[in-house]
Each structure stands twice: as structure tokens, then as C-alpha cells.
Symmetry: D2
Subunit: 468 residues, 4 copies
């Protein structure tokens, strides 16, 4: 965990299987699990301990919690004779599953120096060995259910890979020594294309996943196992369905993300000082925290700089603006005479622009995901075709997070995974430069409260009507 | 302001004009303004001063703020030579209109013993006299704009009539002397009908107001003035439009509100203690505040009682449950195997059940509005036809407050009236026993944060599918 | 309660008995009680309701709490057949006496519009009538105990007379309308004498009251009653004794209070910006609240002004500085190369300078107390002899509030009067322009936390050594 | 830093010089500095990072801050050509010295994973090498001043040795895994002597240090250097002087500390539930935090246990009670019909009982200090003569922390060391089981706010009068 890892090494370690829908469950398990540890390569023991704010968690906790997830949902119920490594972990590494018992106080995760990083790694290996045993010989186990749970666990691990990076970035940002996660060495930014608009006529559309959720135990049957190789490409979270109709008025959507350069114009035009651009809660938040720029930006004598996972870097006008709240995204859009897209508009646009088959991270070859090793959004390349809909930054939508018509939460603990958060949160779409490529699809619904900024969150504009 | 007022006296004072769409603007102005003061009859000077929580305002402030609204939006710009009575009121009684300048700190409204109640009443009369002058002879004024603004001002005053009552109720609830606003003397509750379901097939519907908003200055032209008598019945807030299409899956909606008796069953079944019934933020709120019953309920030796505007009264099982948060409404619905309706479902149902013409407060003869003098929700009478959709209690929906497709906020200060709150709020529909009858229509969108309970807010259930 | 009262009227109402040590108990009771109501003359009903901060109380509460004190400590135990007017008042108007049961939450005293002012006045009269009965015919009652409790009750009432004024001043200060309690019409300030020093040699001194505390029930015997006329002049609180020896090193003490003019020099010399002048907690407080001047000061275009009970007035350089915290007093002293006196130094100095007999408010004829009607500290008159040790402003000392050697708290509820606060508080000495003249003596120990500023608190300097 | 260290090894490492007044400055420097690192032996890297509450600091921070102290006060001004290792450390490791510039926010010390532990150790060694150079050849340096500063730095380091232990204990106490700092293996507790009283007649006493403080630069002259070997035994902090007279009434003081067994009786007698035993702020604190026992105590099925540096251990009735606040100490004393001693009483008693020469830690052979390796207070051995006045637990006094008569803070940064905290703090005396033996003397004044409990703080009683 101490030697730096080149990008090629990462891809090799991955064995190509992240991109392979035909991967066997165990290989896929090993590949995703080891990627988590690969992401820890640049860390020293001290880096694993800190919780820089209640919303974030120590890296150590991410490593252990994802392991707890497999232990609790797969090994304990399905591997005969399995015994948890340490009984206290049941509480220590339970995030928010009331169904699974008590939880150690979230805001105090950074007060625990023990278990040590080494002990947490031991815990991972302990669980990995038993997962190997479980997956190697499913025997008379309910294969469909196990593979369904496995898929949830792997997607869950991927979510925490991203969170671990965003949390490390936040922690390092508070340190006046400006620690660097990995040096950033991209080619110089190129000039990028003018923002154009894609228009869509009013219509009744189907949105949401067509997949019968593999998420719900009660839906899992062994027939799915017969086609287990395809499990990963078919996966969707419960909250992405049911597929249903929405009537969408004519709209247009921007051909690319908003850049730092455009955002600087907003700032220069006193965007943070003009109440009429802001939602009421947004304006109050701006006043309370004295926001004057995106998170991580600081104005120095030689211009605006930004804390990144590659250290403190000058702001590049061509790069997508990042680490803005919904409030800032919404105010920017208003300033620009536009608005944010609804999640239905976003999904309709992506399905039509990228094609239903192409609208998943694994096929968006030129999109900027975590495996690309930038850990930072990139300017849209002139020749790019994906329009930055996938990767780079999560895109705030105008939609509050709520259930789709006909949605029913899964029974059991996974009922708490998504459904209890359908309140006071806003939908973001498309994944980011910190998201694993195989984790994203066009129906994917991420959600955060409107004021948060430490995720890689940016802006895409929309407008009423098709335009010309 | 000290003599109690019987309901007949109120109706007389009202001159019948609240129910008359043909009322002349000035009459209508006088009628609504004097009703505000009628509502103050039971108060003593001390009652006008207190702000019992930051969400509430002193009665004195409501009286002055609504007056400020007319002064600022109508008299200052449109009555030549008008001078504000006291220059400090511009700041003191501005609620949240940044466009109109600074505001006295909201949470400190209860720290001001001056101006006195008498001075505030003087302020009201000063503005009333000048409004009379303005309305008596519109002369060469832009009549359409003035009448449009008048209508907004009157609807605004009606909103504050309701808020004044809910704020007084909250203040009295904190007083161990149990002050009574007005004694409650209703006939004993009758047994009420079983809860039944109205089913609706999936369909594409139009919802929202057909009225071109009279709210926006830029839309106001003098042609509206030509039919000024009808202005009030045609009024709608900006957020109720544009009229637009939504696809609504098949659903059914309950034939009446949930009663205290039904809610007591939820409580008896440990509804407040079962995490699986609650949204995450709701569960946290329940823990933080130790909620175990609706607001104002207290368990005494001889059973549950509730603080009401008629004093402390035993809970009547037949009465609609009231003063619950969205979280409680949602948890109750989940416990009952149901859910809350979306605002589109609610509006579709009301339009079909009551008929588009009937779905306004003024025609819902047997609905329980503020003029009925109960100030408390009533059991559904056996012979009633309105199904409690209007009046009694505001009904929490499952819909977050957001703009309708194609919505654009009005220019000027009224742009702040509704649109900047489209965030972190939940829609409630239908009006309450504290709402003026002429204020409500089926397209009316009320909104509050999901945790609030001091409004008269209750529960109506919905389910997927038509049933049967 | 609405007509303004001239100073002569006040003195007449007082019947001279405040200054008469020979007053009979009932006369004294009536005189002090009616003075409380006289102080309310300038108020309207709304003014009685507000609690402007948790440290302050509504005027209504002061009126009722002092009444509750007589009811609870005298009438209930000693007047046969007495019944409290309203059972809830036992809790509502108990301040902090755990011995006497539950208390209504202190910070919510301003949320109670009822009982009305009129009802509180009725409560006062109800108790006054019964006190009259009790005092008119002590019969076989334990006279010593009753007269001792009476004396405590009257001193308690006087303390609340002062607090009521400081609380009203604070409330009015938050109101942009600048309400005036009573117009201030003093002669123009005169130039005042240079600050000189009184030196004292090192010595062992007796300090504290020689009075066997009439405060403690267990000390009260009827022999005291035999000389009841003198009761008032002999009274001292429990915390003023026992009389005991302290060794005081040589010191000198300033001949007058620090003036606004001198304090302005401190401000001009960046006194609030120089950390080295401040105690650590003081510096933190200055940063947290952004203090830049005493409480109630505001800088306007035409210079510094101060909110007073006479309205907003320009700062007069000759007047004693007022409404400073201990932190400011201490920082000022450090800036001046001096320090604050210990309470022993203060008491030793006053005893020697004014003489033991003269060191009580009643004999300090030219000191500025509440009956003088200024409600504001006055410049030291050239001919004055008292050196402002009594009246004008409370003088912060360097002494933490603690018990004198051999002190034992009284048994019963009065044990809570003073002793439980001997922690985290600082001693102030000498009384203020809001203190009743008959309330003060040289052994009197007032105490407040070091950060408070809403009392009439000012600065007197001391230094090590006799000087010269 | 990983191998456990036996007590003999510690003493050896110490080279005996901690106990030797004849130690040369460099030896003394090396001995005390290396002892800090010895105390870290049981830690892993993760343990150094956490800040478990704002009052505590990460171990890493203690290691660096004490180093910064030498760098800033000695090397930068006195070692020609010295350059700080890393410029950011000036701010990062400044605790509260405004004179020395900005400080990193105290409450965020636990958010810094970097510098790593290894880097902090490098920093220590860097400074140690330069200190060696400075001390090895004082040459023409102002020896007196340097040696005086050295002594302050070493005493400062010793204070942080104790704080590091108390902070680690607090951090481990929050961890459900109950980490052990060092296993505790004491002989079983013996029965201890009855509590007796030492009586003292009323008298005028001298208290405070006779040492002309070596703390103040302006007092330092080279003549002190002439006897530099004795520097350590003569050291006193500025706040321990000037020596001065106090008149102390007759009193008696307990012959030993209060034990757990005695404290359990207080608890069993509802000590935490009886308001009359508590100071007002204490009672509020008890309610707010729900205190029912000393810090670190927990009631389990098989009795009360306590978190210690040796892990979770059963409560031993014979051991001194520890980790109580002043409020608890005061309430206990009141319950026992006693009181806490004033700091003058404590010092007078110790000087007479132990003898002026013996009243320093280095001569109290059987007192329990940190070098004894228990890290926990011990029952008073039957044959012990010191009465636990030194070591075991800090003893709360009844005295607020204030300056002695004639005290003047030193010029420069050291003026901030003690004097700016003379407010809102209470004096504790005598040192604890976590204090270095050579750090304590009878005039030593420790101070903490009255509510804190994480220091090793306990109870000694006193009473008025000599007793029989």
C-alpha cells in the first residue's frame, strides 16, 4: 500500500474484467475489491483515520464498511459455519441499517484509532477468503439470491470507492500543507467547442430501468443465475424503476458541461451577490457560509486556484466547473437565462443522443471515469462524442429525489438502501471522474442534499422549447 | 377588539361579499381587511406581541405586514403624493422581499413591544383610507395592473389570516394557563363513514390553473379591468401554472381524511417506534424531538387531550387527525399499506369528483373553513359530499414543491412571492378550517418544510392501481 | 400606569419613608412595593411582555415574581387560611428555587402573553392586602422570623426594580424606533476633576458585615423584632458575612470612575484590537461578538451615540463609562497601566474614605441612585465628596465571587438565594443609577458573569503600592 | 516506538537525572525530551492522529507543539543561522500565543493527517540537534536568559507529557474496542486508613514561591547561569509568585484523598439527584449531560467499572476517586458536611506537614507519579507518610484562579503562558499519577474550568476550625 501505481498497472490489475460483461462472479468480486485497495496506494496510515466532517468518513471506515456489507448480507446468512471476525464490527461498521441493529455514532467515526489499518486489511482478507469459498461452490445455495446480493455488494463497494476519494479530497483540502493524493499530469487544456443545444419535441416517454430489480430478495429466483454472466450488465438499483411514462414538454439541453471560464463570468458579474438569482435557502446558505466561489477555490495573488487530488492547481477555464451546490448550479442557470434539466429530460436526452445501448459507462470510451486516473474533470475534447453526459462531474438536476410510480421498497435491510432517503435530496445524473466506469448507466439516480459541494458536482443547462 | 363575536355577526360583518364573485374591488378590500381585525376580537394587547418560535410571527406583525404589502406595492407606486406613515416600517414589516430592501431579523419579531397595537391599527386605517382613495377613482391609473396587485394583496392578507390563527394557537399551547381563543361548542361528533376508495384509470391529464396569472405585472393589461368583478374568482398564484400535461398511472384515493381514531391505532401499534415505517430524516426528527403523538397532544390520566383554539379538549376519534408532519403522514400511510397522493393525483381526483366548477372553496358549502367558526377540523358528516378535500386540514402530498413546466417567475418583487421557495418544501392541498373560504381552489399549492406541524395539516391516503 | 411621573411626585409617593430608618414595617412594605409600580408608569401593556434575551425577564414577570416571593415565603407559611390566587403561579413565577418546586423554563418567559398585565397587578394587590393583614397584627406569629423574611422580600423587590429597568433598557435598545422610557433632561455636563489616587498601607483588615444575618431563619429570634424599626438599616445578605480578616497589601484606588472620554482614548488606541490587553476568554468574546465599543454604543455620522433610557443620546465624555463587561474593564485597566481593585481593597477604601457610618446609600446624599430620576450615570460634580463609590455604576472588581471564611448558607429556600451562584461570577460593588438608594451599603456584594454588559457596570482603577 | 517499556527501563532511560538537581542542562533536556517519546511506545501511527474533543489534542500535535516551543523561543532568537524546518509549522503548532502570530484552529487539530508521525519525529530530532548545539556551547549567548527559557520549555514539555496521557485516555474511552495503553498489574489493593484531620490555627501565613521567577525575560540575568545546575530545583512559574501574606482562619484538612468507596456512598445516597448539594452551574451541568458517576465509569451487570489506561477495570473502593469535576467535588464535600480547601489552606498545610524542603515531587518517594507506571491513582499505603498531597490526583480547591498580589505578567510571549487564563478557572493542587515527579512543588498552581473531568482530578476535604 505504499508504492505508487501507474495507470497501466491499474488496468492490468483490473484484468480487463471491469469492462467485461462476461466476467465470472468471483473474478468480478476480486477485481472490484482489489481496486478499492489500489485506490489506497498513495495513503499513509494517518490518512485513514480522519473524518473531516460528519458527511465524510475515514478511509479506514470505507474499507471496513464495505467488507461488513458482504459479511452481513452474504456470509452470515449464506455461508454455513461462518463467524464474524470481531463481534464489535457489527455495530462499528453498520452505516445506517436499523434493520441490522445499532450503529456507532456517525459523526464520531474519526474518533476511533482502532482497529488499525492493518487490522482492517486483515478483516478485508478474512471476508474475501470466505467470499471466495461461498462463490467457488454455490452448491445448493439459492444462487439467484446470492448473485443478486453479490451484485448489490459490488455496486455498493464502487459507491464507496468514489466516496473514499471525495472524502480524502475534503480532508486534504483542510490541511495547509496541501497533501497530494496523486500528481496530476494531463496534457495542456485545449480550446473547447461552443456550447450548443440539443432540442427535443414534447412527447410521452418511458424512463427508468427495464430491469426487474435484482435488488429485491423477493424478486430473486434461480433462473437469473442461469445467466449469471450477464448479471452485472443488467443490474440496476431499486430506485431506478419501475419503468414508467412521463410527459415531457419540448426542451433543449446543453451539448456540454459549464466550464470554469463560464463560471468565472458569473462570479465577475456579482453572481454570489445578487439575491434575485438564488433560491431562498440557497441565498441563506451563501450568507451563512460566505460562499464566493466553488468549494476548494481560493483566490491568491496570481489568480484563482483550486485544491485537487493532484494538489493546489490554477483554475483552468476549459475544465468543467466542479464542487458547486445545487444552489450555485441553479443560480448560475438563472443568470444564464436557462435552468437545470429535470431528471426525465436528462434521461430522455441521453437515451436519444447516446443510444440506449451506449448509455452506460462501460461503452463511453472517451468519458472521464476514475480508471482514467485524472481524479478531476477534463475539458471536452474537440472530437468527443459523448457530450460529457457520462463521467467528469455529476450533473445537478431540477428534480427532487422521489419514488417512481409503482415503486415499492425491497423487503429486508436493502429496503433501507435507497428508499428512506426519498426526501430533502436532489437528483444528480451521469457519474464523475471519481466513479468507476462499470458503475454508471443512463438510468442511474444519485442523490444528495442541495447544499453539499464535496462531491464532484457540476452544471449542465437546459431550456424550455426546442429552440430553433 | 374585546367583545366576542358570534358567527352570525361575522357573516353580517362580511356583508356577504366574501361569497360574491360580483363584489366590487373596494368592497372586497374592505371586507377582507375587516375580517382580519374581526379575527383579533378575542385578543388582549399582550397577545399581539409574542413570537413563540422563529417560524411564527406576532399577531401585531401580521396586521402590520399585510398593511405594508398594500402600502409598498400599491400606494407608493400608484397613489400620487402618498407618503408612508413611518419610514422605519419599510424595514420592520418587510418579510423576505430582498427586492424591496433590508428586513428586520425574522427571529426577533417578538422583541419589539413598539409600535403598539394601537399604532399598528392606526397604520392599518391610514393605509385603508388611502387604498379607498386609490380604488375609488382609478382615473388614469393602469387599472389592470392595480386590480391585479390588489388581488394579490387580498390573497396575501388571507394567507396571513390563517397564519395569525396558527401562530396564536402555537403561542397559547406553550402557556400552562391554557388560554382559549374562542370557546368551542360543536354538536357531539357522529359516527363517520368507512373509508372507501375512488379509483382512476391511467391517463394523460391537464393540471394547473388555466388562468393567465394576474400575478405578474407584465401580464396585466387593462382589458382584465373591464371584467374586474370577476377578478377574484379568476385569480391564481403564479405557481399554479402553467396548465400542463402529466401522465398519471392508475391510482385510487381515499374518500375521506384519516381520523384521530385511526391515528391512535398507529400509535398503539408502536408507529413512532418502528424505524421501518419512516423516512430517514423523519426517523431522525422523531428521535431528536421525542415525538410520540401529533403536535399539541398530551396524555393525561383520563386519556389523550389536545390543545385547540377552544382550549384543552379530549381527543375525538371521529375528527380528522391534525398537526402532523409530512414524516408522520408518510409513516402512517406506510403502516396502513398505502401512500400519500402526488399533487397531480390529488388535483385530478378533485377535478373529477367535485367537478371543475365546484372545486373551489366558495362553492363547497359543507366544507369546514375559517368562517364556520370551529377553528378545528370536523368529523365528516354522513350526508357530506365533498369528501373533506376542501377545508378541515391541509393534506400532505408526496410531491416536493417545484415549478411546473414552462413556469417563469414574475418580474419584480412578486417574483420572490413563491418561486424562491421551490426547494426543500412539500406540497399540501385543499385548505383548512383556518383558511378563508374564498381563498381556496383545486389548483392551489400550499407548501411547507416536511417537519413542520403547527399548520392544520392532516392525512389523506392513496394507493397504486384502481383497486378491485 | 400611563401618566408620566415627575421626580417630586415620586418622592412624595414615597412619603419620605425610603429614607427613614424609623419606618414601620407595613409602611416600608407599601412604600417599596408602590415604587415598583411607579417605575412602570411609562410603560404600555406591550412593553411588559417581551423577554429580549435569556438573561432578561419581561417586566410582567418581575412584577409577579416579587409578589410570588412574598406569597410563598410569608403568606403561605405564616398567614393562617391564606390560599394562593392561582395555583399555576407557583411554577410560573418561581425563578430558580428548586427547594420550592418546579420552575417554568427561564428562557421562555417571553412566550407567555397571559396572565395579562392587569391580572398581574391584581395578583400584586391580592398579595398586598394579605401582607397588610399579616403585618398589621402579628399576634402570636414568630415576629422575628416574619420581619426577617419581610426584609429579605423587600430587598429582593429592590433588586428586581433595578433588573426591570436594565431589562427594559435592553429591550428598547433592540427596537429601531428607539422608544424612550423617560426623557432625560439633565443640566449640561461640567468639566470634571482629574483622576487622583487614594493610597492605603498594607494591613490586616476586617471586612464583611458585622450584622448577624437576618437572612437565615435559624438565626432569627424575636429579640430582633423588638427593634424592628432598625431592621432595614441593619439588614445584610448572607453572602456579606461573616466579618473576617484579610491581609491587604499596600494599594491605591482611583478617586473617581473612568469616563467615556477616557474610554474613547482606549478605543482610539485600538484597545479592542490588541490581544495583549485581554484575558483569554475576553479576547475570544471580543472576536465572537465583534465588540468594538461598550454595549448600546453606535457610531453614527455625527459621532458616537448611546441608547439610554432617555433615548438615543450623544456620548458625553464626562459621564462615567457604562455597560462594559469585566473583560473590557480589565483590558482598559491594563492599557492604563493599572488594574481593577479586589473587593477587599474596595471595601477597605470605602470604609476609610466615607466612614463606616456613611458608607450606605441612604447617607450618600449626592450619589446618583434610581430615585434621582436620571437612570444614567452622571459626571462627578466638582463639589462631590463621595467619589462615585456609591451609585452611578456598579464597579467591576478583580475578585471572583466566593464565600467568606466560615460562611454557611442558610437552611431552606433562602439557601439558594446567593450561595449556589458562588462560581463563575465576578463581584461588583457600589450600586448604580438604577439601584434604590436604601438598598446599598459598603459590604454589598453584587455578582454577574464576566461577559455581561446590560447592567449599569463601569470601571474604577487600582494600583499596587501607595503611590508617591 | 513499538516495544513495551518496563518501569526499570524507564528509570534507566532517565539516567537518574530527573531526580538529580545537579544535572547539566543538556542532559536534563535530553532526558525530558526522550521521556516524551518513551511515553509513546505503546502507540501505533493511527493513535497519534485523533482529537477526541476540542479540549484534547492529538498525540502528534503534543509532540510537535513542544518542539515548536523550543524552536520558537530558543532556536530562532538565540541560535545564529537557525532556520525552521518547515515554515507552516509556525502556525500549525502554535497553541495560543497571539504574540507569536496566527494559530491553526484548535478544534481542527484532528483533521490533519499530515505531517505524518514520522515527519513529526524528524521535526523533534531536527530541533533536538540544534538545541544540543545551542546548549553545548553557550559561548557569548546570554546564558541566564537561555537557561531560564530552557527551564520553561522543559516544564512545558512535562505539562504536555501529562496532557498527552489524559488525551489518549479520553480517546481510547470512546472506542468500544477498549484499547489498552499499558496493562495494569498492581498488587491487590489493601485496606486503607480511616480519614483523619490535620488541624491548623488561625494565622497570617506566607504563601507562593520565594523564587524570583526565572520565567520572565526581564528578570533573567546571567548570575542565575552561574548556578545553572540548580536551575531546575529552583524553577517556578510566574503565577506561583510573588510570595505574599494571607490571613487564614483556623481550619482542618483531611489526611488522605476521598476514595471510590466513599464516592459510591454519595452516589447511593442520590448525590447526583439532590439539587441542594450543588452549585447552580453544577446542577445545570449534571442535568445537561446526565451525569450520574465520574467520567469513564460505567455500570455493568457485574458492577461499576472504569475505563483506565490499563483498559476497562472494576472500580476498586480503596482507590482515590478520580475524573470528577469541581462541581462533583464540591457537591460531595457538601454532602459530607465539609468543604474543599482554599489553595492557601492547601499550601499552608502541605508546607507544615511535609516540610518546605520535602514538599516537592522529587523528594516524595512514596507518592504516585507518572514514572511509577501505574497511570492510575493508588490506594494510600498504610505506611505512607505523604498523605497523597503529591501525586495520585490533582486536588480541586475552592479557589478561583487569580493573580497573587503584586503579580505582573512577564513581557513577551511568555506573558500569555499563564496570566491570560486568570478567569473562569479553578485551582488544582498537587500533581497526579500522570505528572512527572520532577514537575511538582507545593506552590504549583494548576487550573482548569470547573466542569472538566478528563484530567486526573479528585477530592480532598477541609472544614472550618481546628477540630478537636
Amino acid at each position: 500500500m505504499t508504492s505508487p501505481t501507474s495507470r497501466s498497472a491499474i488496468i492490468e490489475a483490473d484484468g480487463g474484467c471491469l469492462n467485461s460483461p462476461a466476467s465470472r462472479p468471483l473474478q468480478r468480486y476480486q477485481s472490484i475489491r482489489s481496486w478499492t485497495e489500489t485506490l489506497c496506494d498513495p495513503l499513509i496510515a494517518e490518512d485513514y483515520v480522519v473524518q473531516s466532517m460528519p458527511d465524510a468518513s475515514p478511509a479506514k471506515w470505507h474499507l471496513a464498511h464495505t467488507t461488513w456489507f458482504f459479511e452481513t448480507l452474504l456470509l452470515v446468512p449464506h455461508l454455513p459455519g461462518y463467524r464474524p471476525l470481531e463481534s464489535q464490527y457489527k455495530v462499528l461498521f453498520n452505516s445506517y441499517y436499523n434493520t441490522l441493529g445499532e450503529q456507532f455514532t456517525r459523526s464520531q467515526r474519526g474518533l476511533l484509532s482502532r482497529p488499525s489499518v492493518a487490522e482492517v486489511i486483515d478483516y478485508r482478507h478474512h471476508v474475501d477468503q470466505h467470499m471466495q469459498a461461498l462463490l467457488a461452490d454455490l452448491g445448493e445455495s439459492p444462487q439467484g439470491e446470492i448473485l443478486a446480493l453479490l451484485e448489490v455488494g459490488l455496486n455498493h463497494e464502487q459507491q464507496h470507492q468514489e466516496l473514499m476519494l471525495t472524502d480524502l479530497k475534503h480532508m486534504f483540502s483542510l490541511n495547509p500543507l496541501h497533501p497530494v493524493y496523486r500528481p496530476y499530469s494531463a496534457a495542456p487544456s485545449e480550446a473547447i467547442a461552443e456550447l450548443a443545444w440539443h432540442g427535443f419535441e414534447e412527447n410521452l416517454h418511458w424512463i427508468g430501468t427495464p430491469v426487474e430489480s435484482s435488488f429485491d430478495d423477493s424478486n430473486a429466483d434461480d433462473s437469473i443465475a442461469a445467466d449469471s454472466n450477464a448479471a452485472d450488465s443488467n443490474f440496476a438499483y431499486d430506485n431506478e424503476g419501475p419503468r414508467h411514462r412521463v410527459f415531457v414538454e419540448a426542451f433543449r439541453i446543453a451539448s456540454r458541461l459549464i466550464t470554469n471560464g463560464e463560471y468565472l463570468e458569473f462570479m465577475a458579474d456579482d453572481g454570489y451577490g445578487r439575491h434575485e438569482l438564488w433560491l431562498s435557502d440557497g441565498w441563506a446558505t451563501v450568507q451563512e457560509h460566505g460562499w464566493r466561489a466553488p468549494l476548494y477555490w481560493r483566490q491568491e495573488e496570481d489568480g484563482w486556484k483550486s485544491h485537487t487530488l493532484g494538489g493546489l492547481r490554477p483554475i483552468h477555464p476549459e475544465e468543467p466547473v466542479c464542487h458547486v451546490s445545487l444552489y450555485e448550479a441553479d443560480a448560475f442557470a438563472r443568470w444564464k437565462g436557462a435552468r437545470l434539466p429535470s431528471e426525465a429530460e436528462w434521461e430522455v436526452a441521453v437515451a436519444q443522443l447516446l443510444g440506449p445501448g451506449a448509455a452506460v459507462g462501460e461503452t463511453a470510451d472517451d468519458a472521464n471515469f476514475v480508471e482514467d486516473g485524472f481524479y478531476h474533470p477534463r475539458p471536452l475534447a474537440a472530437e468527443a462524442t459523448h457530450g460529457q453526459f457520462l463521467g467528469d462531474v455529476w450533473e445537478w438536476t431540477a428534480s427532487a429525489y422521489s419514488s417512481y410510480p409503482g415503486y415499492r421498497p425491497p423487503a429486508g435491510p436493502l429496503g433501507e438502501y435507497n428508499s428512506k432517503f426519498m426526501n430533502n435530496q436532489t437528483i444528480l445524473r451521469g457519474g464523475s471522474c471519481a466513479t468507476p466506469r462499470s458503475h454508471i448507466r443512463s438510468t442511474y439516480r444519485n442523490f444528495f442534499p442541495p447544499h453539499i459541494r464535496w462531491q464532484f458536482s457540476g452544471i449542465r443547462l437546459a431550456q424550455d422549447g426546442m429552440g430553433r
